[in-house]
Symmetry: C2
């Protein structure tokens, strides 16, 4: 007993001293970055929401005056790689750091009592807390199914919803412009269970079908509802972008099957974690079976990391500005997106070459204010008559975007990621301006 | 400059002090565990290979004398959940701990210059180092493709190898007894590209086919080669168990497409990381496309963790016994498996109720000694004529196993995991003995 007590005291002492060291090391890093050449240094040196939100503009000004863009650097805005969020997480320091010892999470099983046996309880808990906080989805009476990104959950949903003994595969549809990967993801294995059937607006086949409703929509950012008003339809709601930084949160989504992903919510795309909220336990069971057959569960390490990230976001929203919780993730992100969209609209409105969608503002229950949709992608249209293929035009200026044909519409449209790092976003704006002059 | 230097010195100081703290904390944990009730405490208190390897036996003895088994606890040996390895990794302390800050690995992309753009360079590096050390596979001239476990890579291989424009799906075969998940994994999506066609031994259909060669085989542990000696066959080698703890390493595998997984190599099943060594760059490209379409890459966090684990294993083999590298993973694991197999054979040989496969010994290039196969699964046969269904018999004794029918053979056989925690393995032996009396 004496021995144990002495160990306890030693352990306490070391933890105390370790905590002290960590905070000092963080300070050193912070100091070093203030003096370093990092593009985010200005933002880090400031404190407070307003100052942070103006960092993009300052970077832009400094870029213009220093004339760094020789037009040679290739900017890849084809994917929605959410690297914009790195700066926020750098600012948050060690709060989101996860430490995983070698002996942790070795078993296949996360929770043998849950039908979704590979779901980490801590991740499930934070998902529920986050939805309750943001108010963007009803979690009560839902089975949470975790997936290797929402892509895997999309495929799991098709598998779960398609009749197993039908004479032909069920039709899968979505209104154009639709997410460019839906057709290939649906058809790449030539499944006998489901088959891509194109634009929901022109779908007139008899019989059952699965309609994918992406809201806000990828690529164009509009709020969407089912397009086919007919019985026999099964809806899958992809709400990857239904977060306060992208669109006003008007009400808690209350659908049969809803998909979310960490990638777009927090910016952690490399972690490959998504989740589904599923009303029918039988559908959930089939989705779980799909994930068992395709990857025998979902990385436990990544779920633990994602759980920590969500927890930090919740804390930052509940106690914004306090040293232990940091600035509110959603408010900072909302400001950054607002600023980017303002800069983009200014650049586009300087000429008549391009146009952008016009959105209706709405009341955001989470931010408690009227706000504008400010999507993760810009859906640009080349209005100039001389341009047939907008994607090629941008590629000539060393900007990779995704052309309208991939989304089921014409080549006058392009989708441009709004989530890249400051430097690339600013180069994009500069080159957009140069195309118009 | 002065400022920067002072920071540098501060940083150095803190790192030094941090390192000191960590080592002290480790010591405290180690001391605490020596005094704790953990089943592995005896092994931890000892040092050296031989003492560690006898821990299982001691636990067994203590269990028998204390009579803890009331026969009520359900033991699940149905899956190959490799929790046996937890004890080794606990012993290794903080060596394998990974620390992932919130801003790390956020992008989808691990390495844009690699055709496998979601492959972490550090993971690829450690895979090559490990194969070179163990001598179990040629890595030169191969593209490494990382997957969410080797299950995903198995499906990726089917997708990559199946002709895209054939009039009917390509046949997928494997010699019985084959891995029980092959048929359902191949057929669950009713793909038009490939179709399960059963036992390779009785396969006589004309035309191309994909043969799965698992060696050592799951479930029976035998070394295997292709069974169908015919042109038009494409081979996929699943070498998940080709590691020194399970089978003598006779030579470096030099096939077209080989699958490995961290789960069986190191015991980290929950991490969901596997890798393929692929000779034909075009095949690799299609596998990469499959993973892009099904999960948009593979968790970067898990790859970083897996890289660290492999690195620690390599160090432990190159400098065994040194404080900084720890006991050799493969030697410890080999000893533990040898001991478990010896105990199992003793238990089985006490009666005539069960039988086990007989293996030929071989020279292991890695261990530099003659050694016996000691598979991750025991392929038990009920020899007693009164028993029709061996799986049911074991279930009556609250032991879950997987019956022969799942593997394409009769119900007289069962597959039993040899990789569970000591306590469960020992309960299994006790109950096996009680069935025979």
């Amino acid at each position: 007993m004496v021995n144990f007590l002495s160990i306890f005291t030693m352990r306490n002492l070391f933890f105390l001293s370790l905590a002290l060291n960590l905070s000092l090391i963080m300070r050193v890093f912070y100091e070093a970055e203030k003096h370093g050449p990092h593009e985010l240094s200005a933002r880090k040196a400031d404190s407070g929401l307003e100052k942070a939100a103006h960092a993009t503009q300052r970077t832009l000004v400094s870029l213009s005056s220093s004339g760094q863009d020789d037009g040679e650097k290739l900017i890849n805005l084809d994917h929605g790689d959410p690297t914009m969020y790195e700066s926020y997480w750098q600012q948050m320091g060690e709060k989101t750091t996860v430490v995983i010892p070698g002996w942790q999470s070795m078993s296949y099983f996360s929770d043998v009592k849950n039908p979704c046996w590979f779901l980490e309880p801590e991740f499930a808990k934070q998902v529920v807390r986050l939805h309750n906080l943001v108010g963007n989805a009803v979690t009560e009476g839902r089975q949470i199914v975790v997936g290797t990104g929402s892509s895997q959950l999309f495929l799991a949903a098709l598998y779960a919803l398609a009749p197993k003994d039908a004479s032909e595969p069920i039709s899968v549809i979505s209104a154009a412009p639709f997410y460019s990967s839906y057709p290939s993801m649906t058809d790449y294995l030539k499944s006998g269970l489901y088959k891509w059937a194109g634009d929901a607006r022109s779908f007139d086949k008899e019989g059952p079908y699965i309609e994918l409703v992406t809201s806000p929509n990828n690529p164009d950012g509009f709020v969407r509802h089912s397009m086919v008003n007919r019985s026999g339809g099964i809806l899958v709601h992809d709400l990857a972008y239904y977060w306060p930084q992208y669109t006003p949160i008007s009400s808690a989504a209350d659908h049969d099957l809803t998909l979310f992903t960490v990638s777009k919510a927090t910016g952690h795309a490399g972690t490959r974690i998504g989740w589904a909220l599923v009303k029918d336990p039988e559908v959930a069971k089939k989705m779980i079976k799909f994930i068992e057959l395709s990857t025998i569960g979902v990385s436990r390490d990544s779920q633990l990391r994602a759980a920590r990230i969500l927890e930090v976001i919740i804390n930052s929203s509940q106690n914004p500005g306090r040293p232990e919780s940091g600035e509110s993730f959603f408010k900072i992100s909302h400001h950054l997106m607002a600023e980017r969209w303002q800069l983009l609209r200014e650049a586009v409105n300087r000429g008549r070459f391009f146009s952008l969608p016009d959105f209706q503002q709405g009341f955001c229950q989470f931010l408690n204010q009227v706000s504008q949709p400010q999507p993760a992608f810009a859906w640009l249209k080349c209005e100039d008559e001389s341009v047939e293929d907008c994607e090629s035009l941008l590629r000539d200026h060393k900007i990779l975007t995704r052309g309208g044909r991939s989304f089921g519409v014409g080549p006058k449209y392009i989708r441009v990621s709004m989530l890249d790092r400051d430097h690339n976003f600013n180069l994009f704006l500069k080159r957009l301006a140069s195309i118009q002059t």
